[in-house]
Symmetry: C2
Subunit: 228 residues, 2 copies
């Protein structure tokens, strides 16, 4: 396992780099700035959660939410990663990654093709959340990550639903962001080649909301959906 | 490690399920159909690649390409996962996951909130590609995954660039897709609640291509970009 390190102070403006958060490549694209990390995390709601099962890696897409320096992931109490946190809860070593694709970078040379992106990689030990109040707040955060304001406009989980839902927490401590922005790179001798070169912006687009046919009479489109 | 299993026949129309490709939850959303798996893979170009380093999971976003029943991932010869395939190349245990988000599923109850999505999870041992011809074809596939047709409209990698690029291959053998589509689920007693419920479609949108200021005179927008 990795060497221990001093936990990042809650008042620090950046996460302390560690052996595994310093990239071997494109180190100039790496950042440990908390504000940047938070912004990348808050723009998304689907992460890819990695853990080790029987010695082999497993990567599953799942929803997440952030509250301060904690990330929360939920699932059925019967699901694999959550079951593996176990009764005694020694925690589960995870790597949680969030990626936004911002553009296709088309250089004249195949070699210099790239992607503009922003990603965050979090390493750590996830623990199951036992405290009912923390669990409730975490589930609200998960819903609000998908659509800010939505948790206040839905029926909260009842006791039975809370019992069927496991929530795990991963502290933001060993964290890095990686960002590529801007235009293409090409070799000077390729600049006169007749290939189109440039950037194609990419973003997530929301279509018109499709209401459930059985909406209660008078239920209009809420503001948080109208602004999408 | 996991039990061995019969490799999926190349003529089979579905991948053989294994212990780790049968989900513990929502098994009705799982599929092993090759056509579906290929379609999900071919719609994307960024995967999340998981591997184990010093006993801990690592999940990194990276580009991929598919040729038949092989996936290819590339990187610098100095990058971590590729270095770990090593000289003797015993292979690297990986989990490669591709996810498309298709919609936000907003139920009246917080508990029944969900996401419409299509994902593919591939387990296996990745090996470095030594054959120069396979490497060349794999790199074309990577570029064409980002934009079909693009590899033919860019300067191919030269010897030096090929030498600096490592490519690893992962055979499609232990593979599953998972798909959620359709509308919301709500408890009968929640149907009269005054919360908006329904689905918000999500898709990747491409913006207007931004040409490099130094395009060679007369270089127009290629057809494969005009149709985005």
């Amino acid at each position: 396992m990795h060497e221990t390190h001093e936990p990042t102070s809650s008042r620090a403006t950046a996460y302390a780099p560690t052996d595994r958060t310093v990239p071997t490549r494109s180190a100039n694209r790496a950042s440990y700035d908390k504000e940047l990390v938070h912004a990348i995390l808050d723009e998304g709601y689907v992460c890819h959660l990695g853990f080790v099962r029987d010695g082999a890696p497993v990567v599953l897409p799942t929803l997440y939410g952030r509250i301060g320096e904690c990330l929360y992931v939920h699932g059925s109490t019967g699901s694999r990663p959550l079951r593996m946190t176990g009764e005694a809860d020694p925690g589960l070593a995870v790597c949680l990654t969030v990626t936004h694709v911002d553009g296709l970078v088309l250089a004249r040379s195949a070699f210099h093709h790239s992607i503009n992106y922003r990603s965050v990689v979090v390493h750590g030990i996830a623990h199951e959340v036992d405290d009912p109040e923390e669990k409730r707040i975490a589930l609200d955060a998960l819903v609000d990550h998908v659509l800010p304001g939505r948790s206040q406009d839905s029926r909260p989980a009842n006791k039975k639903e809370l019992a069927a839902t496991a929530v795990i927490r991963l502290d933001l401590d060993e964290v890095s962001a990686k960002v590529r922005t801007g235009g293409i790179t090409d070799e000077p001798e390729d600049l006169a080649l007749p290939h189109w070169a440039g950037v194609v912006p990419v973003r997530a687009e929301y279509g018109a909301p499709v209401p459930d046919p059985g909406l209660a009479p008078g239920t209009g489109l809420p503001d948080y959906l109208a602004v999408l």
